[in-house]
């Protein structure tokens, strides 16, 4: 049974200062006025189960290996990171006693030395104590060349790790790296006593029966069907209030919605409720529908290596004649919010002074005329023997995007721009086609940040063009000396105001240069049964089961 005297279980303590603020904001967003006061209290002991529906299947139990969003949805309940990011974008301690900062001395003034004090009394699901050795081991495992780690970005800056005591460790960076704080908010610690000394770190019994320090324990996995977790009654934090958490795989979004409607799913996430079911979903009895902003941006990623798209005036004309309101209004039922940059408005570095998007096809046509793009015989503009023509690709099977493509192709054709649609299966599109910039333009939903950090060095840095460098994700092949300079500075500074100024300028340049055309802020329609308490959107994590420890039935 849980220990009610444990300080971490009480929201009033400072160890996890999230419940009060979360409930407050959640209630304001989701419930009628005054409902927060009347909200039923959580049960004294874990009770009931919640079935969460996802349109992707859980794949990997090891939280340091390559994975999808559903894996992360499970990891948040099975494992714990040192600290996390709350919905407001603030760090809160989880396994660490406090989030290290320049102010509290956890990070040295030069940003190189980090000292982390860990929470005491935390135990792994098998009863073994959690110590600093586990953190050291997890950091080392990521850098193990034989281990198939998800990513080494940030971790490769750590020069040395020293364990100073069972609950204290210190590490030193080769150079300051500000995004590390955000990266570590998704660094789930694995147990050294289970994994150390494995002959093949990629294949251990841990993969089939993982243990963590999270609020739920691994119970079972039925491939093709579900993963079940059960309450960890010795959890060090608040909750869990549910006895069981079930992550159900429903491959078809329409079927998933039907199962939510018939009550077989208590929560519907990831691809959520298709926008065309939104109006009906709102009328369902005993269901709460949440239209939630995400940290991603629906956009057209342009390949600047393309002979037509490399010309800035063409990109600007494309954006001017891109009818974003028609897309959001006609296809997405007016639900998404406008976007003009790669960061969501909720991000601390968001530049709110950027020029808003204007839809002015007549001006776009004039700009093209002035730049020498004259209509040819078939109405498509031509300049120096080059037709103003390109293809646009997205993954097959994404119905709304295909309709958006058709809408764009029609509206651009009116001003002499030919856009052809060339869609591909995900396994093809996200292969060499993407990595080697073989596309002309892509319609995708991209998350540019890592957790909440606005560092986009790998997205817009000229050294991060994978086609040339074999590194990075700058598939637009965007090159700008000032952006390079700003981004290089942005990662070594630790002061938030200095960094904010840098990323605001980066956004201004990207808004001007337009290597990507923002269409709208990522949006998802999720649903919960009316009696499910504690659900809260957090755009800094990939799945909204991040706080399922605090979910309970009214």
């Amino acid at each position: 049974m849980s220990d009610p005297s444990h300080p971490a279980r009480h929201p009033s303590t400072t160890t996890i200062p999230r419940r009060g603020l979360l409930l407050g904001s959640a209630a304001a967003a989701l419930a009628p006025a005054g409902a927060a006061l009347a909200q039923p209290r959580p049960p004294a002991a874990p009770r009931g189960q919640c079935v969460l529906g996802f349109s992707q299947e859980f794949t990997v139990a090891h939280p340091l290996m390559p994975a999808n969003e559903v894996d992360q949805a499970v990891w948040w309940n099975l494992f714990s990171p040192l600290w996390g990011l709350d919905p407001a974008g603030r760090f809160y301690p989880i396994l660490a006693k406090a989030v290290p900062s320049l102010e509290n001395g956890g990070i040295s003034a030069d940003g190189l030395d980090w000292r982390i004090e860990l929470r005491e009394g935390v135990r792994w699901h098998d009863g073994q104590p959690f110590t600093a050795e586990d953190v050291k081991f997890s950091l080392a495992l990521i850098m193990n060349p034989n281990f198939r780690a998800r990513g080494k970005d940030g971790y490769d800056r750590i020069e040395s790790v020293t364990v100073e005591g069972p609950q204290v460790l210190r590490w030193r960076l080769r150079q300051p790296y500000a995004p590390l704080m955000s990266i570590l908010s998704q660094f789930f610690i694995v147990p050294a006593h289970r994994l150390a000394g494995a002959e093949d770190p990629n294949n251990t019994p841990f993969h089939a029966a993982p243990i963590g320090t999270g609020p739920f324990k691994w119970a079972e996995r039925r491939t093709g069907s579900h993963v079940m977790l059960t309450a960890n009654r010795d959890y060090f934090g608040e909750g869990p209030y549910l006895e069981r958490l079930v992550f159900r795989y429903v491959p078809d979004v329409n079927v998933m919605y039907t199962q939510f409607r018939t009550g077989e799913l208590d929560y519907i996430g990831l691809l959520g409720i298709p926008a065309n079911h939104y109006a009906e979903a709102r009328t369902l009895r005993d269901r709460v529908i949440h239209v939630i902003p995400r940290g991603s941006v629906e956009n057209l990623t342009l390949n600047l290596g393309h002979p037509v798209l490399r010309e800035k005036v063409v990109r600007q004309a494309l954006y001017l004649s891109l009818d974003t309101r028609a897309i959001t209004g006609a296809l997405y039922y007016g639900l998404p919010k406008e976007a003009v940059t790669f960061l969501p408005p909720e991000n601390w570095a968001y530049n709110d002074a950027l020029p808003r998007h204007e839809y002015d096809p007549a001006r776009a046509a004039r700009m093209l005329d002035e730049a020498g793009w004259k209509p040819g015989r078939d109405g498509i503009r031509v300049k120096d023997g080059l037709r103003l023509e390109f293809t646009n690709s997205t993954t097959t099977g994404t119905e709304l995007r295909t309709q958006a493509q058709q809408l764009l192709a029609q509206s651009w054709a009116k001003i002499g721009i030919a856009m052809k649609i060339h869609n591909l299966p995900a396994a093809v599109l996200w292969g060499k086609f993407w990595a080697e910039s073989q596309f002309d333009s892509l319609m995708t939903n991209t998350t540019y940040t890592i957790a909440s950090d606005p560092n986009v060095l790998h997205r817009f840095g000229s050294h991060a063009i994978p086609k040339r460098a074999g590194y990075g994700s700058n598939v637009s092949q965007f090159e700008n000396a000032r952006v390079d300079e700003l981004l290089a500075r942005g990662v070594v500074l630790n002061g938030i105001e200095e960094r904010r100024a840098i990323y605001r300028e980066v956004q201004a340049i990207i808004r001007e240069e337009l290597p990507m055309l923002p269409i709208f802020q990522g949006m998802q329609i999720e649903g919960t049964k009316a009696g499910l308490m504690g659900f809260e959107n957090n755009l800094h994590v990939l799945a909204n089961s991040w706080n399922a420890a605090r979910w309970y039935w009214a």
């Binding site: 069907s225 069981r244 078809d252 079927v255 018939t262 077989e264 995900a426 590194y471």
Partner: protein, 318 residues
């Protein structure tokens, strides 16, 4: 007989080798790859993806990858899924049961109803029942399974609330009755088309039989019509059906993709589609080899049964 079996097994091994080579080549030459799933997420850079490709051995020349895979297979190592790291045999094993349950029940249902409709249609040829059965079979064959599945869910799950809207069990209640409850929807959908097919086979087979001389002889001997039908006609008409059933056996384990998707049934069909979508080479190759072995085994068993049933064939064949 022993020599015959040995020869057939050797032929089967050769065929398996060819199937594996063709399958491997087609799979790897198709555009895209297993790392695309991670590229789509956006949190892994090209450097990470290249490192993963090296670690998984995907950067090696194709013949080297094939020989490595073949060598492992010969030693009984089917490899591990790229998607979820689980051993391929465990992945296949965890889906076969669900598929077998669904396919077996729907096939049995289809055979029983199909045979009954076929027999009655043949006996009452050109009657209203026969006409309705013929039209019904055509309609059933023409209905898209996906659409019919959604209709069943809409009517019986959403509308009437009689059936669950999918899945194999209710979490927390996995009793036999619960499983049966979940089985009804997909079983009806899958059985619909099969019933139409079986009824047509049965009707045709029955029509052949009831015009045979021995039936006429039986009638002339004054044997009651019901007895003639059951003991003489149906028994003989069922013989070709047994052959068709034999040929149908491998499909019992290969799954029904559309029905499994609509009803969230965790079977082989969906596993195959998911694995193809993710380019999960080890699992796709595993399913391919598993199915190929089943087909060859089924064919070998059928041949052996013929030999057992007909000693003349055995003498020639052995």
């Amino acid at each position: 007989m022993g020599g015959y079996v040995a020869r057939r097994v050797l032929q089967a091994a050769g065929l398996l080798l060819i199937v594996s080579m063709i399958g491997f080549a087609i799979l790897h030459l198709a555009p895209g790859g297993p790392l695309s799933q991670f590229a789509a997420g956006g949190d892994m850079t090209q450097e990470d993806l290249d490192r993963l490709a090296r670690q998984l051995g995907l950067d090696r020349p194709l013949p080297v990858q094939y020989l490595d895979w073949l060598w492992r297979m010969l030693r009984g190592d089917w490899g591990a899924s790229f998607r979820d790291q689980q051993p391929v045999l465990a992945v296949i094993g965890s889906h076969v049961g669900a598929t077998l349950e669904l396919m077996l029940s729907s096939t049995l249902l289809a055979m029983i109803i199909g045979a009954w409709v076929g027999i009655l249609g043949a006996v009452r040829r050109h009657s209203l029942f026969d006409a309705l059965a013929t039209v019904g079979a055509m309609v059933a064959l023409s209905i898209p399974t996906f659409w019919f599945g959604l209709v069943v869910i809409y009517v019986f799950s959403v509308g009437l609330g009689w059936l669950p809207a999918g899945n194999r069990t209710t979490i927390g209640n996995e009793s036999f009755l619960d499983q049966l409850h979940h089985l009804i929807g997909p079983c009806i959908v899958l059985a619909l088309v099969s019933t139409a097919v079986w009824s047509r086979y049965m009707r045709s087979s029955m029509l052949d039989v009831i015009h045979q001389d021995y039936i006429r002889t039986a009638r002339s001997k004054g044997i009651p019509e019901r007895r003639i039908l059951i003991h003489h006609a149906v028994r003989n008409a069922l013989l070709p059906m047994i052959t068709i059933t034999g040929l149908h056996l491998p499909t019992l384990l290969s799954g029904a993709l559309v029905t499994e998707t609509v009803f969230t049934w965790p079977g082989m069909g969906r596993l195959f589609l998911d694995s193809i979508s993710y380019r999960d080479y080890p699992v796709v190759m595993g399913i391919l080899m598993f199915t190929a072995v089943l087909v060859l085994l089924g064919s070998l068993l059928a041949d052996l049964l013929y030999h057992v049933a007909d000693p003349r064939l055995g003498a020639h064949g052995a």
